[in-house]
Amino acid sequence: MAPVDERALRVARLIADEPSRPGDHHGVAGNLRRLCSAAGRALSASGAGLSVVVGDRMRGVAAVSEPAYEPVEELQFTLGEGPCLDAFATRRPVLVPDLSAAAMWRWPGYATALHGKGIRAVFAFPLQIGAARLGAFDVFRDEPGPLTADEFRDALTFADVAVTTLLDGQARAAPGAAADGLDDEVVGQRAELFQAQGMVAVQLGISLADALARLRAYAYAEDRALGDVARDVVARRVSFNSGPS
């Protein structure tokens, strides 16, 4: 038991020592941002991100180490594929030490897009306790190469601390509400995507899941961010009624 505790203590200290930044959210969302930054440093990563997955693989980024990693972490939700979603679905870490090789056929859209952003390795860890699943924690590197055994254990510990942070935050939340800061972070900032989903579902007379797939396909084909497409749908600059151009 002792070594495990020492590691957990060391990781907790790293997170506690991580300075807060202007723009940090209060409560859980802010703590998770500091966790991502501390993890990025401890794991020789270029960045780290943490997503809470709600329902059918839906949503969304809860925290990233640097603002530049927001779109990186977001990418798998835009494309509907990636190691974070796989780690969540299979309940196991998904380790991709070299994005340029095998990953290209496993996640063709995701691997190509991530490679294009200069990222060469990604490691995803599920956030879970018992049968319950919360999301996933992602570590990105701009150099290919595996995690060392020690880094791997540290990454698992960061994932455990993230679970504890989410659960303790939720334990303090008001009935029916999400842990403080989290609903705005995960849902509020992406409100337009969900609105666009509802609008496209009505435009085409299809389900919400199909509507999301249509939005993703459109964004991918047009090489645009999903959020931008959603904003255009809500502003009625893009409609799927007559078939999007």
Binding site: R59, L167, G176, D183, F194, Q195, G198, A201, V202, I206
Partner: protein, 241 residues
Amino acid sequence: MSTVSAERLATVFVDVADTLVDDFDVVEFLQMLTQHVAALFDTGEVGLMLADHRGRLTFMAASDESARLMELFQLQYGDGPCLDAFHTARPVTNVNLAGAAAKWPRFAPRAVQAGFESVHAFPLRLRKEVIGAMGVFGSATELDGADENIVQALADVAVIGILQERAIRRGEVLTGQLQGALNSRVVIEQAKGIVAQARSVSPDDAFALIRDFARRHNRRLSEVAGTIVAGLPGLPDLDGR
């Protein structure tokens, strides 16, 4: 009890460590533990109490009715070996009940009356946390140091299992709450989109329509949003009554 075979002990320990099963039930588990411990003694019955989150002890399980009564006596009268083990976090062993009236003025006479001669009690603990106590009531059996270690180790393994199970149960409940809260926010946004498109209004106006409908019908906003989303591909009727 020092005559228990290693194989037998190994089986008992495996049983007691196995709490990560799908249909784990804490009462059933503790019942099994008391029976296993009782079986280690030639003549001995075992009772067990756990503390709730406020630190109040409650009877949980016993190997037979007489042990159950011994546990309940202690809780009712506020003295006895299990309470001592719980409060001091240390085992209480080899106490001759006939000479224990000064120690436990209320419990000792009743235990003697019930036919018991000696008593042992073990704290259920993990590091500094004590979550309950287990009592062994029997004839004049003497426990040596090795016996004491075996029973305490069994109690320790059980505690790890119970705490792990509690942590997982709590995690599952809280995860469900978090997912539920986030999901209802998502569903409200989706419903806004559906109404906005169906009525050719802005998302803000769509929200006002949904909210007014919920108020008129005395229903919760998230419930109305859920109905709208579930109604697809049908379009919502927010005018009715």
